[in-house]
């Protein structure tokens, strides 16, 4: 399906902010609900790295959660162009994992962004997949693999 997980250098760097005194254990309680400007800006950048962005557990090749796996499968079935897709593994980055929940005001992972707009999690992707609205959204945003001439399979005998 997807040949790689793209984590742009910019976002990768921005997602690991410099050590901040507010991140010390004494401020753990504050930290939980505190979306720092740095983190917010890093997530702004992450959300803008590609037309289709999925914050998930694990990678597209190796999802670490059934819901994340289901989301990847749906995007694959829809024919999302890998060149227009980026996945972020929240398990690699605790600040991203909690930050994205504050940022999106959404309690669970995975989270799908299309054209920098939050679309929803697995349940919503599933129902949009079933009623055709996901296909329509992805077509409108022109993020699908081109239909013509791409019947050629990657495998060779």
């Amino acid at each position: 399906m997807f040949s790689r997980t793209t984590i742009s250098a910019v976002a990768g760097q921005a997602l690991r902010p410099r050590r901040n005194p507010l991140l010390s254990p004494r401020f753990a309680a504050l930290q939980r609900s505190f979306l720092s400007t740095e983190t917010r800006q890093a997530i702004d950048k992450a959300v803008a790295t590609a037309p289709v962005v999925l914050f998930m557990k694990g990678t597209p090749e190796t999802p670490q959660c059934g819901f994340s796996r289901a989301s990847i499968q749906i995007l694959g079935l829809q024919g999302v162009d890998p060149q227009k897709f980026t996945a972020f593994n929240v398990l690699e980055d605790e600040e991203l994992r909690s930050g994205i929940k504050e940022y999106s005001d959404w309690p669970t992972i995975p989270q799908l962004y299309v054209d920098k707009e939050f679309v929803g999690g697995t349940d919503i992707m599933m129902s949009m997949h079933q009623d055709g609205s996901l296909a329509k959204l992805l077509e409108d945003k022109e993020v699908l693999v081109a239909a013509e001439g791409s019947d050629a399979s990657a495998t060779s005998s």
Partner: protein, 84 residues
């Protein structure tokens, strides 16, 4: 529309969730199920309510998130099915 009554087989936590949703959304259909094998860490909710009328699915889910806000934060996951 008939009010929903909590079934007997709900455990304590399911019952609490049921009552909260019932109170806030006055649903015509409501199902709450612990899908974490009784661990109280993941729930499936199926809600039909007029409170959802006119709202896109994502706003319907956000409404449920708001109502169960503090609870959801302690869960590992949640599955929502909502309908107006």
């Amino acid at each position: 529309s008939a009010a929903v009554e909590p079934p007997d087989y709900l455990d304590e936590r399911e019952r609490k969730i049921f009552d909260t949703v019932k109170q806030e959304l006055k649903p015509t259909k409501l199902e709450v199920q612990d899908i974490s094998g009784g661990c109280g860490s993941m729930y499936a909710l199926d809600i039909v309510s007029e409170s959802f009328k006119g709202l896109p699915v994502i706003k319907q889910h956000r409404l449920v998130n708001k109502i169960l806000g503090e609870e959801i934060k302690n869960w590992h996951g949640v599955q929502l099915k909502t309908k107006a």
